[in-house]
Subunit: 297 residues, 2 copies
């Protein structure tokens, strides 16, 4: 089972990488330096967790994998843009990402800013340019979901709360609010967009899937906080211990390590339960759940 | 005629302002400071040139004004986001915009970055959330056009070329390449999106309209350069003389003032010619053309 999952994940990671290589503007197209920076940021790294979730969710609705690839690429572009902007000096001011210098270190701040901006535009361009759903109406729904997930009441809003929380004591509900927005919204979008590429899911199933996506989004962050506290920079490929150094509230700082580990297990169990309605077709989603919660980097 | 145009423009400016007030997240919604910054940036200022173009283009295709309002708001949000990011210290580093402190001066750099990011997301959300065209397929086409206009082969790409050109001598074609992307692409999108809200235009008419939009986009920039060189900060509501100070190539620095004025007239004439195919329905577009070229701020 595990070997099978690793093969499946590897092949989807290769597929998304190949696809992103084609979908990103070539480096011989002007403005060359901007396109270089966009490719530098997106290609050759990352666990591709959101695409894996989209592919696994697509299996629930028998979605065409070509469609899911484009939708997953769009989600991954939004994720990549958020990392570039998040690493800027006026935000987290980080110099290392996926084992490489961050975009503004490799290029400069202005190019990093524009690369992030352009990646966001490209994400929406992809969702409109290819046929990704059974109807154009459903495809507009996908554009709307991704835009909401990325915006001020989703990911960008979560980042604003994150910045405002530095040095403050947050309650667990406040921390949860932040993460539901900062990382949860885009993870939810990845799951839902993957499912939207296919058809046949009823309202109840979509509600269950959305609940699953919420659980897995939070679990992702709990594990992220644990890893930041417990792993090394070499293993993570990004600066470890940043949260404590920046005096940021995390699940570990609020709950302690033991309780944070337990919370991840509770979320795994809740996520599994939400998938029961799908039976065997959700096997991949269960595996991706384990991949997210059991990861070591 | 002129008085009539002023009434028409004023009522559309009020309409777009009212609409943006409703479409932007309210300031009692978390995260409050981010939503404040978004509203600060977008509301209460600006000539709304792109919305006026969208409304005037909508008259060619008998577009419903409710639809055009949303489409124009989406274009204006993209424009507003580009100004916020353009004013940041790592870009043009400007402190004054529309007679007020720029967003990062009034708030801070991180909030300005996130406000810009969120305004871009919101633009695409609007294009997907409301019914704006006769078919969802046409609406996807609108999403695609706006995304292309905003991205690395449109506006953001033009900004990258602009930054790279500081202190360099550009040829006229190089300067034109820069502006066709930096300001031209979004102005083209405004015109085309306005027309897409209605129906009945044939391929030839759409090609003429697109040519018109290209002329008016360039004319806008030529006049912008002339004003930057000849007007005062008080009249402009933004820092005058920035281009010369920053050693930026402009139409005035390359062509001289007299030739720049002549070029604006040639573009007006070319724009008018592109509209001939539409007869009387293009009267508003002719008036907006004059408004753009004859403006004093």
């Amino acid at each position: 089972m595990i070997a099978d999952f690793q093969d499946w994940a590897k092949s989807r990671q290769v597929r998304i990488e190949t696809s992103l290589q084609t979908l990103l503007p070539a480096t011989n197209i002007a403005p060359v330096r901007l396109h270089d920076a966009m490719r530098y940021t997106v290609l050759g790294g990352g666990k591709r967790v959101r695409p894996l979730l989209a592919f696994a969710a697509g299996e629930l609705s028998q979605a065409d994998e070509e469609r899911v690839t484009i939708a997953a690429a769009a989600v991954e572009l939004i994720h990549a843009y958020s990392l570039v902007h998040d690493d800027l000096p006026c935000m987290d001011d980080d110099v290392l990402r996926r084992g490489k210098p961050t975009c503004h270190v490799e290029y400069d701040e202005a190019i990093a800013l524009l690369a992030g901006d352009s990646l966001q535009s490209l994400a929406f361009q992809l969702l409109a340019e290819y046929r990704l759903a059974d109807t154009p109406q459903m495809q507009l729904e996908m554009v709307k979901r991704l835009a909401q997930a990325a915006g001020s009441r989703g990911m960008a809003g979560g980042q604003a709360v994150d910045l405002a929380s530095v040095g403050k004591t947050l309650s667990l509900p406040e921390l949860e609010f932040m993460h539901i927005h900062k990382t949860g919204a885009l993870i939810r979008a990845a799951v839902m967009l993957g499912a939207c590429c296919g058809s046949g899911l009823n309202e109840g199933q979509l509600t269950s899937l959305d609940h699953f996506a919420k659980c897995i989004g939070l679990a992702f962050q709990v594990v992220d906080d644990v890893l930041d506290a417990e792993a090394t920079t070499a293993t993570l490929g990004k600066t470890a211990g940043k949260d404590a150094e920046n005096n940021k509230p995390t699940y570990v700082s609020i709950l302690g390590s033991t309780r944070a580990h337990e919370l991840a297990e509770e979320l795994r169990s809740d996520a599994y339960q939400s998938l029961e309605v799908f039976g065997a077709t959700a096997e991949r989603l269960r595996q991706v759940t384990d991949f997210i919660i059991d990861r070591k980097f």
